[in-house]
């Protein structure tokens, strides 16, 4: 944390302080003159917005905690007391409740930015991984916060989510009991969730600190995804980006404040205002909107993974092996013998690749139909992974896979602007997640236009989500031709300015 050689400050008080603890020098270096690519768009405002939301959640949370009681007979009433009696209690609570939603909006946008412009790639892999950890901690925090008002929705969300762990073979039930501190969601659960809900945001602050630290080692990516080559490519962070970020933040806050004050329950559910009843599950339980896509994936796995399905997945893995190993496996004698005989060059390989993918698809679908429609196939009842565990693995796997994204996509070009195929694929993935979110909010047996059950569409989209990461990214890494790129950020910016001037 040493700031290195110091420039003395003119103000004697600051100078006295800084020569003993160089905080001012550090701030000046990291947030004042910090060289920042000059072509940022507003997607780059969302990191700062997320940070602001985190601070806001902590401040509103601490003041809520002063009037909140984590006890099963009192929690619900204490939240109502905050809403009715505590001065500005309604405001604190609505800021906190909607703040969680807007925090997630900011972070989802931030993650999308990272994917679209390839910010996860070398040299920013660790920065990306720290981000995924923050995302996981946020989800845990929000989930536990949601049980604190001790409502029907919150209590049953806690039941369903903790029971996910019961899918783990042998030790699952013991883990659920450990998490709940009892045999069902009850007072011990509420108490510990409050303790952890108070703690985790501060852990997030810690990780955000190293996240930003790592950012300031590698420097920011930018919409072109090309490296900064010199001072002509950058601007000082302040005042240029402090001003731009401030404007972005203001617009975002306007939306947040509008919802908080004019439609504070827009994203809430009526069952969230009924006290938790351990003997009555609400007729239609739905998680908070920011969990819906993952919830849809969980519900989408209605079939067990039998030998056919696993074989299908195995063939895809084998077909991709040369891609994963960057061509080394093309010469692998074992693979050459069994799977893709006589493949020596890439052209030949790619033909075989699509054949194998088709075979894998057929085998997979046979397994799928034998599980869901009772297609009578030999051994199709041998399920190695039942639907419950499969659903849980899909749900957690969909986030875990983000950790390895930097290695699944090894294409040298970062930004989707210069990768036409990746651009389509990543936008389709984003759309899939959005539609999955819609499906997650429907009842289990809801129909689309009365023709097809939504759950089948959810299965296709879940399949695409995973295919994007495990098949499309590695495949495009070795096959996609990038479109021509500018030589430098500066050149691109000047061209853009000239184009705009010409148009005027």
């Amino acid at each position: 944390m040493s700031a290195g050689p110091r420039e003395p400050f003119e103000n004697p008080v600051i100078e006295w302080f800084d020569s003993r603890l160089p905080i001012f020098t550090m701030m000046q270096k990291e947030y004042g003159v910090f060289p920042t690519p000059k072509n940022f768009n507003y997607f780059w405002s969302f990191g700062g917005i997320a940070m602001t939301m985190l601070i806001l959640m902590i401040v509103t949370g601490i003041f809520l905690a002063m009037n909140y009681t984590p006890q099963e007979n009192m929690a619900f009433d204490s939240v109502e007391h905050i809403m009715r009696d505590v001065n500005y209690g309604w405001m604190l609570r609505y800021l906190h409740m909607n703040g969680a939603s807007f925090f997630f909006i900011a972070v989802y946008t931030h993650i999308f930015r990272g994917m679209y412009y390839g910010s996860y790639k070398k040299p920013r892999e660790l920065l990306w991984i720290l981000g995924v950890i923050i995302f996981l901690l946020m989800m845990a925090t929000a989930f536990m916060g949601y049980t604190l008002p001790w409502s029907q929705m919150g209590g049953w969300a806690a039941t369903v989510i903790t029971n996910l762990f019961s899918a783990i073979p042998f030790v699952g039930d013991s883990i659920v009991t450990l998490l709940l501190g009892g045999f069902a969601v009850g007072n011990p659960t509420l108490n510990r969730f409050f303790a952890l809900h108070y703690l985790l945001p501060f852990v997030i602050v810690g990780i955000v600190f190293v996240h930003v630290w790592a950012l300031h080692v590698t420097g920011s990516n930018n919409p072109l995804g090309i490296d900064v080559k010199g001072p002509q490519d950058t601007l000082a962070f302040s005042p240029y980006y402090t001003a731009k970020d401030m404007f972005g933040l203001a617009v975002f806050m306007l939306a947040y404040i509008a919802v908080t004050f004019f439609a504070p329950n827009m994203l809430a559910h009526p069952d969230h205002y009924i006290q938790y009843n351990a003997l009555q599950t609400p007729a239609h339980i739905v998680p908070e909107w920011y969990f819906l896509p993952f919830y849809a994936m969980l519900r989408g796995i209605t079939f067990g993974f039998n030998l056919y399905i696993l074989a299908g997945i195995g063939i895809i893995g084998a077909a991709l092996w040369p891609v994963y190993t960057k061509g080394k496996a093309l010469k692998d004698p074992l693979l050459g013998m069994t799977i893709i005989p006589a493949v020596t060059d890439f052209g030949q390989y790619s033909k075989k690749f699509f054949t194998m993918l088709a075979i894998a698809g057929v085998v997979f679908m046979l397994g799928y139909f034998s599980q869901t429609m009772g297609l009578p196939l030999p051994f199709s009842k041998w399920v190695l992974l039942d639907s419950k565990l499969g659903g849980v693995i899909a749900m957690f796997g969909s986030i875990a896979i983000l950790f390895v994204m930097p290695w699944l996509d090894s294409h040298p070009v970062r930004s989707a602007r210069f990768r036409p195929q990746f651009k389509v694929a990543v936008l389709a993935m984003t759309a899939s997640v959005a539609i999955l979110g819609y499906i997650g909010a429907q009842t289990a047996d809801a129909m689309l236009f009365g023709v097809i059950q939504w759950v089948y569409i959810g299965q296709i989209l879940t399949g695409y989500y995973f295919a994007f990461f495990v098949i499309i990214l590695p495949w495009l890494s070795v096959t996609e031709k990038a479109s021509p790129m500018p030589n430098s950020i500066n050149e691109a910016v000047l061209q853009e300015n000239a184009r705009k001037a010409g148009a005027r």
Binding site: W156, T159, V160, T162, N163, L164, S166, T177, L178, L179, G181, G182, F183, A184, G186, P188, R192, A278, L279, Q280, T281, P282, A283, H284, I285, R299, I301, T302, D386, S387, K388, G391, T443, A444, D445
Partner: protein, 184 residues
Amino acid sequence: MSSYENTPPHDTEDGATRRDFLYLTAGGFAAIGAASFAWPFIDSMNPAADTLAMSTTEADLSKIEEGSAITVIWQGKPVFIRHRTADEIKAATDVDVSTLRDPETDGKRAQKPQWLVMIGICTHLGCIPLGQKKTEPKGEFGGWFCPCHGSEYDSAGRIRKGPAPKNLVVPKYTFLTDTTIRIG
């Protein structure tokens, strides 16, 4: 001092030194120590003695009319007690057990055919299935329907459709008289 620093490590034939051994044993003991220290913290999160206190619940069956059900609480969990009709029993015994996801005969699930006693927690993710009251949906198989993700149980509480992997659990219970049972 310097003679100590210059002492060459006592190499054995395969290149391992005495210091390697010390590192390993010290590391091993540190790991055991850390785990033993962590255990009380982890175990403090498990159910406390009063939660665990192996309580039993007695239920009076005499007031349950044929075709209706009651819910009693045992260890914080709902227990469904259903007085089944002859039709329901017949439907449950007529099923070909080998076609079931979690094969179990009706006889194994009910000590006396007219009384079905089960823990009312869906084996999928822990919601409480509907079907206890006459007005509630019972699903295609005339038993219970879980509102959370649509699992359907038959009139013996066996899983027939939806994501749940297992039948509703039958707790240990004994008939004290013809019309009272003790659960647990």
